[in-house]
């Protein structure tokens, strides 16, 4: 009886364990599915504007000169192929699908090559997560990184390394010597640092396996010695072949070493604490990636431990916790950054209402968001009514380096405000630093087209005609070169042309787009267009420059001859009249009746009345009590202070 009971208990235990195992297998599958589908979904629909921006900040051409240029540096082929893949982010869903498919391939290869048992399969998510984090952490680095096609560089390099490792494992020790040498000699020009990393993994594999080899121990030793020597010698040898890399960089080609170092950010001061300000943080996913692979190799040594009861559950759970934590830390989740990218995408699609509306999704915007919003309101013809109805300020940029508007949106801003030479200049300057990118080429085309420099515009059009996704756009622009009279009729070019009514002068912006434009709009040319005058007027209001305001306002009334005065202009007139104690401005008879609404007069009175209640209080302390006026110029004038432009 007892025996039967014991047997049935054992049977039920086995059944329970089988059930648990099956359930765990299912759970693991669900986790995997959730991970890959989830990341795909987030990239496709939440980060779509960022992905679009990443593709626009890259370039891939079907051209021999471009190909040769790419191959002139070690790791050139890797960057070339990576750039090819990055262009698919132009359509974020398509780009994300390809990206996730390749990430999944990394996962599968990791399982296969490192012989990870099925119940430990979630371990393979660790390098995959690190790979993903190497990209999701970037933030504003997308504007500054100098490695073409960075988004795919590490991923493709890891794929190449995994396949090489797989081949390496299949070979006998003598062939391995030949293989590792071939890998380094052929791989270094194509993959740069990653060829060395691959060789290091091969070396490590050899070392951890050496005990299990009964024969040819000396051959293993030889393999180790040759690999170590080759890792040092091959880059040095190639230093004498390539003329594009310094000796001290020769072992690191393909990594953003020069930029992710203290030297690059040494003069940057941050106002607040954020771990994104620490430049070395960006190396952590790389470290995790390589250590995870070394650990998976080293795990061979401790295979026996894998049989410990329930270890798979602990490992699976730990892996999931790691993935969630790691991604939540290394996913650059700055709302302002995302808004800027969404605005950028909407601007290229000429959806100006969306550009303005996105600015409401933050309480403290960056200057880029504010400038984009102002531009949109001007385009929509509602700047006089809506300019101060949005959040304003100058949020600090979360990045270790100084981020200038010239890189994040200055080219677009200059173009739209008719400063074609400056838009073009920054395309060229940035092309020198970061290489030509779709975004720069498009701005160069439009700027030179509207400058009347058709031959130069055509040069960039011809380059864009060699791309996969901008061919049609380029052909559309080519039509303007062939029929320049159509430029003035094009709706999208109306504002830039209206704004280009100034005379040439020698000037310099020192990388400060907003300050330069604000200073420029302090001067109104004789034959200024109505739109230019309106920009000058609003610019004076933003500067809180009463003298410039009255000058621009006078011009506005005479040139634009408005039937009705927009709300904010009424507010400014009333406010400046109140502030003008010495009565330097004379208002003509009937002006107030014709242009100033009584409701706005009442609002100013109540605002002034309320300020008396808080007399003696500092302006920043008073601001919260005046939120009801936050859509007025009065509020902006008194409470929006200390704006720092970048």
């Amino acid at each position: 009886m007892g025996k039967t009971a014991s047997k049935s208990r054992t049977t039920s235990n086995v059944g329970f364990i089988t059930k648990i195992t099956e359930r765990m297998d299912k759970l693991r599958m669900i986790v995997l599915l959730f991970f890959f589908v989830g990341v795909w979904g987030v990239l496709s629909f939440y980060e779509n504007a960022t992905l679009f921006r990443i593709s626009d900040l890259s370039l891939f051409l079907f051209d021999e000169v471009y190909f040769n240029e790419m191959l002139s540096v070690p790791a050139g082929l890797l960057m070339y192929v990576s750039s090819f893949f990055v262009q698919f982010f132009h359509y974020p869903v398509l780009g994300a699908t390809i990206y996730i498919a390749l990430l999944y391939l990394v996962y599968r290869l990791t399982i296969k090559i490192f012989e990870i048992p099925k119940r430990y399969c979630l371990l393979a998510l660790i390098p995959v997560t690190a790979l993903l984090a190497a990209n999701t952490q970037l933030g504003y680095w997308i504007f500054y990184l100098k490695i073409p096609g960075y988004y795919y560089v590490v991923l493709l390099a890891v794929l190449a390394i995994l396949m090489a490792l797989w081949a390496f494992k299949k070979l006998g020790v003598y062939w391995r010597i030949f293989f590792v040498l071939s890998w380094l000699f052929l791989g270094y020009p194509l993959l740069g640092f990653y060829a060395l990393a691959g060789a290091m993994l091969m070396l490590f594999l050899t070392i951890v396996n050496v005990d299990s080899v009964k024969d040819c121990k000396w051959a293993h030793k030889l393999l180790v010695i040759i690999t170590v020597l080759a890792i040092f010698a091959v880059p040095y040898l190639y230093y004498h072949i390539y003329t594009t890399v310094a000796l001290n960089n020769v072992y690191m080609v393909g990594l953003p070493c020069a930029q992710w170092g203290q030297e690059y950010v040494k003069n940057v001061e941050h106002e607040s604490f954020s771990y994104w300000h620490w430049v070395y943080i960006y190396w952590i996913p790389f470290i995790v990636l390589f250590f995870s692979y070394f650990s998976l190799l080293a795990a061979k040594k401790v295979r026996r431990l894998l049989n410990v009861n329930n270890l798979d559950i602990v490992v699976s759970l730990s892996s999931v916790v790691f993935v969630v934590l790691f991604l939540s830390i290394f996913w650059y989740n700055d709302n302002n950054y995302r808004i800027e990218n969404k605005q950028n995408m909407a601007m290229w699609n000429e959806k100006w209402r969306e550009v303005a509306d996105f600015a409401k999704e933050t309480e403290l915007p960056t200057r880029q968001i504010v400038m984009n919003k102002n531009l949109a309101l001007l385009k929509l013809g509602v700047i006089g009514n809506e300019l101060f109805s949005y959040p304003d300020g100058s949020a600090e940029i979360l990045s270790p380096m100084i981020v200038h508007l010239t890189q994040t949106g200055g080219k677009m801003t200059y173009f739209q405000y008719g400063k074609f030479n400056f838009s073009y200049r920054w395309c060229v300057e940035d092309a020198v630093e970061y290489g030509w990118r779709y975004e720069y080429l498009k701005h160069a085309v439009r700027s030179m087209l509207l400058s009347g420099e058709y031959r130069l515009a055509l040069r960039y059009i011809n380059i864009l005609k060699r791309t996969l996704f901008y061919r049609d756009w380029a052909e559309e622009m080519e039509m303007f070169v062939e029929n320049p009279e159509r430029i003035a009729k094009e709706k999208d070019f109306y504002m830039p042309l209206q704004m280009a009514c100034y005379n040439d002068a020698l000037d310099v912006d020192e990388s400060f787009v907003e300050a330069f434009l604000t200073k420029n709009f302090g001067y109104i040319p004789e034959d200024a267009s109505p739109m230019y005058i309106e920009v000058a007027l609003t610019s004076a209001m933003i500067r809180k420059d009463m003298k410039s305001f009255w000058f621009a306002f006078d011009k506005y009334l005479r040139v634009c001859n408005p039937k009705k005065l927009p709300k904010h202009y009424q507010e400014a007139v009333l406010l400046f009249m109140n502030l003008d104690k010495s009565n330097t401005v004379t208002i003509s008879d009937g002006f107030m009746e014709r242009y100033i609404s009584s409701s706005i007069e009442r609002r100013l009175s109540s605002f002034v009345g309320k300020t008396k209640q808080y007399k003696g209080m500092k302006e920043e302390d008073m601001a919260p009590y005046f939120k009801e006026y936050s859509d007025t110029y009065f509020y902006f004038y008194f409470f929006v202070r200390k704006i720092k432009t970048n």
């Binding site: 021999e64 240029e69 890399v245 310094a246 074609f420 380059i463 002068a505």
Partner: protein, 504 residues
């Protein structure tokens, strides 16, 4: 078995022949004559080329489905099919040798919907005057302030081979970048040459009789390190300008940028005793662009008189406002190689008198002609749309524009070949922004023929190549020092020269 192999080989041979036959272009028997020359890029129609130049590859910019081009010299015909007419190097050499002193005729056939069209044939004159085998130039993105990925390269003119002399990425990288510029040679040879490295590990890399060193030409008595160099062709000295240069941008004008010297002087460097001395250093004159006469006893340079008028402005601000008033003349001073003494200033060409600004004087190897660039104002004519090349006959003082070689876009950075029959210069005529190298034949009378762009293997190379060519120089031999050897010198310390007072 042997029979099978033999048969297979025979079959392969026959297929090969068939492929070759089907690929070799055939001049159409029937065609309609089009009374105009074909549109080709680069434009090689009617140019004069040296007999030792690389093949002039071009693209036929006519609409068609098939293209055949025939290059004919008196005894040789070469037929090429395809939109890109690219003649193989070996066949081109034979063709050029056969046409030396004569002409090549180029016939173009284009297959349109209506059948084959034959365009009016055009000629390429093949001069018996050879050209120096090498040139060197700097490749630089046409940027303003930013610099990265700069290289000084040398190119064999009879082929497409290009080598790097020095690349700035060899000696510096982010954030310690290097700007490299102003390569120069003594007498077209490379055992005495120099180039500058700016910013990180800056200095002048100087090859003196084959020995490489790095020097610092900045002294307490000079406003900067050496800038525009000129090796004395006979004596062991080098003239330099020293400049305080700035850039400022046009908000609207197509010239886009003004490069201005706020101050500049001319010095002479003696590499033997490592000293520099002033040649010209007036406070109210901007002296720049030194150039030696072939006898090494006369130094030419440019000078602009610019006096500050507005006391309320800084000198810099005033120059920005009055930038159009800065006009350079060409002056010269005799130089005694024994004593180092300089003669009185002699005005060679007073461009300012005709409301112009003349820069970059270059004397022909026979000493007869002065080649210079001229535009309305300023010194950096490569950014001035109206800049053209001119030649002055130093015997008569007459000067003329090189009309056939010039274009509506800027021309500048010119140099003479060692036999004085060719000039090499940078021009932005292709797209107004990227400077390309053009070569023009120049006759004994100083009149230049139509210029042609430096040939490249791929006709559309210039459409996609994103760097400008500047400071082109002829060389009779290549630089033999490797880029890595230069990099080693660049990474070392620079020896600072001493200033020698003129009076001493």
């Amino acid at each position: 078995m042997r029979l099978i192999i033999k048969k297979t080989l025979c079959l392969v041979w026959c297929i090969g022949l068939l492929i070759c036959y089907s690929c070799s272009p055939e001049i159409p028997e029937r065609f309609v004559v089009v009374e105009k020359e074909p549109l080709i890029y680069p434009d090689y129609i009617g140019v004069t080329v040296p007999c030792n130049i690389a093949p002039l590859s071009f693209r036929i910019n006519e609409t068609g489905t098939a293209f055949v081009t025939r290059f004919s010299s008196p005894d040789i015909d070469i037929d090429i099919s395809g939109k890109d007419a690219v003649v193989p190097l070996k066949e081109w050499s034979m063709l050029m040798n056969n046409a030396k002193g004569g002409e090549i005729t180029v016939e173009t056939y284009v297959k349109s919907d209506a059948g084959w069209l034959k365009y009016t044939p055009f000629k390429i004159s093949v001069s018996a005057d050879s050209i120096d085998p090498y040139i060197s130039y700097r490749l630089i993105p046409p940027s303003y302030v930013a610099y990265e990925n700069l290289s000084i390269c040398q190119r064999a003119l009879s082929s497409y081979d290009e080598d790097v002399i020095y690349h700035n990425m060899l000696g510096g990288s982010e954030p310690n970048g290097q700007c490299i510029n102003c390569h120069a040679y003594k007498n077209y040879r490379t055992d005495n040459m120099q180039f500058h490295v700016r910013q990180y590990n800056g200095g002048t890399v100087f090859v003196h009789d084959g020995e490489i060193k790095k020097i610092n030409l900045k002294t307490d008595s000079t406003i900067s390190a050496g800038v525009y160099p000129a090796f004395n062709p006979k004596y062991d000295v080098v003239a330099y300008s020293v400049n305080n240069t700035g850039q400022i941008f046009h908000t609207k004008h197509a010239n886009k940028v003004e490069v201005q010297d706020k101050a500049s002087d001319v010095i002479i460097y003696n590499p033997v005793d490592e000293t520099v001395m002033h040649v010209a250093n007036s406070d109210v004159d901007l002296e720049v662009f030194p150039a030696w006469a072939p006898d090494g006893k006369t130094l030419y340079y440019c000078s602009a008189h610019f006096e500050k008028l507005d006391t309320s402005l800084t000198a810099e601000a005033e120059m920005i406002i009055r930038y159009r008033e800065v006009k350079y003349d060409i002056l010269r001073r005799s130089w005694n190689p024994e004593t180092g003494e300089l003669g009185a200033v002699d005005t060679v060409f007073m461009a300012s008198k005709i409301g112009q600004s003349a820069t970059f004087p270059r004397i022909s190897p026979d000493g007869r002609f002065l080649l210079f660039a001229m535009a309305e104002y300023g010194c950096f004519h490569i950014w001035h749309r109206d800049a053209d090349l001119y030649v002055m006959d130093l015997e008569t003082g007459d000067y003329h524009a090189l009309d056939k070689a010039n274009s509506e876009s800027p021309e500048s950075y010119h140099s003479w070949s060692s036999n004085g029959r060719w000039i090499l210069f940078a021009s932005r005529r292709d797209d107004t922004n990227y400077s390309r190298l053009y070569i023009a034949h120049i006759g004994a009378d100083g009149v230049a023929e139509k210029a042609f762009v430096l040939p490249q293997k791929t006709p559309e190379f210039y459409d996609f190549f994103d760097r400008s060519y500047n400071v082109p120089e002829f060389m009779v031999e290549p630089v033999s020092v490797t880029p890595q050897e230069f990099a080693k010198v660049v990474s070392g310390e620079a020896k600072t020269v001493k200033y020698k007072s003129f009076d001493k």
